[in-house]
């Protein structure tokens, strides 16, 4: 199973508050993991990817950060949320066969007010 668990599913936060979105994955060890964001009316934007514990690459400069404290855990964080951080956040992992058919989690809907 390559199941991906994301929580919380829905989150409403005030501007300036902190954020922590968690993603845990099942299946083969040492997967490549990704955080994507889908803003309203827009496509999927790659935010971060990780090829292993403690290894994070950022694709877009912003006030978000990511961490990978364990092999199957990927966390998206912010110290101070902006209105523009609202969106649908998706965690994904690469397929076990090495092909880049990504498997996505169900997503976390963040609304910043």
């Amino acid at each position: 199973s390559q199941t991906i668990h994301q929580w919380p599913a829905t989150l409403v936060q005030p501007v300036g508050s902190p954020l922590s979105l968690e993603c845990t994955v099942e299946g083969t060890s040492n997967p490549n993991l990704y955080w994507y964001r889908q803003a309203a009316g827009r496509g999927l934007q790659l935010l971060f990817y990780s090829v292993g514990i403690g290894q994070i690459s950022s694709e877009v400069p912003q006030n978000l950060s990511a961490s990978r404290p364990q092999d199957r855990q990927f966390i998206l964080s912010s110290k101070k949320l902006l209105l523009s951080d609202s969106g649908f956040y998706l965690c994904a992992r690469e397929g076990a066969d090495g092909a880049n058919v990504l498997t996505f989690g169900a997503g976390s809907r963040l609304t910043v007010l």
Partner: protein
């Protein structure tokens, strides 16, 4: 600079007819292409893929066509069903196993 573009944000089709979703890319190094389908409040799910050594790949009602010279691919759904109503994303990579670049998505509405 968007390397993968889906110029139609939405498409409406009658049930039973053909749906054609288009995707253009600019990076000539892309050689592996995928289509994903996304329902509201869910993660995208993989639909079909094609590598640059082919110009067509078919899976049931879904067929993807690739025109490398035009840097264009399309997804055909025949016949379209109301359950196909979703947002469709095309994605591309330099090689299988490398990072995906997604288009902006096209919302398909299939009317009964």
């Amino acid at each position: 600079d968007q390397q993968v573009k889906q110029n139609s944000p939405s498409l409406s089709v009658q049930e039973g007819r053909i749906s054609i979703l288009n995707c253009d890319y600019t990076n000539s190094m892309f050689d592996y292409f995928l289509w994903y389908k996304k329902y509201p409040a869910e993660g995208p799910t993989f639909l079909i893929s094609i590598s640059s050594i082919k110009d067509k790949n078919e899976d049931g009602r879904f067929t993807v066509f690739l025109n490398k010279s035009a840097k264009h691919l399309s997804l055909h759904i025949v016949p379209s069903q109301p359950g196909d109503s979703a947002v469709y994303f095309c994605a591309a990579s330099v090689a299988a196993g490398n990072m995906l670049t997604f288009g902006g998505g096209t919302r398909l509405m299939v009317k009964p």
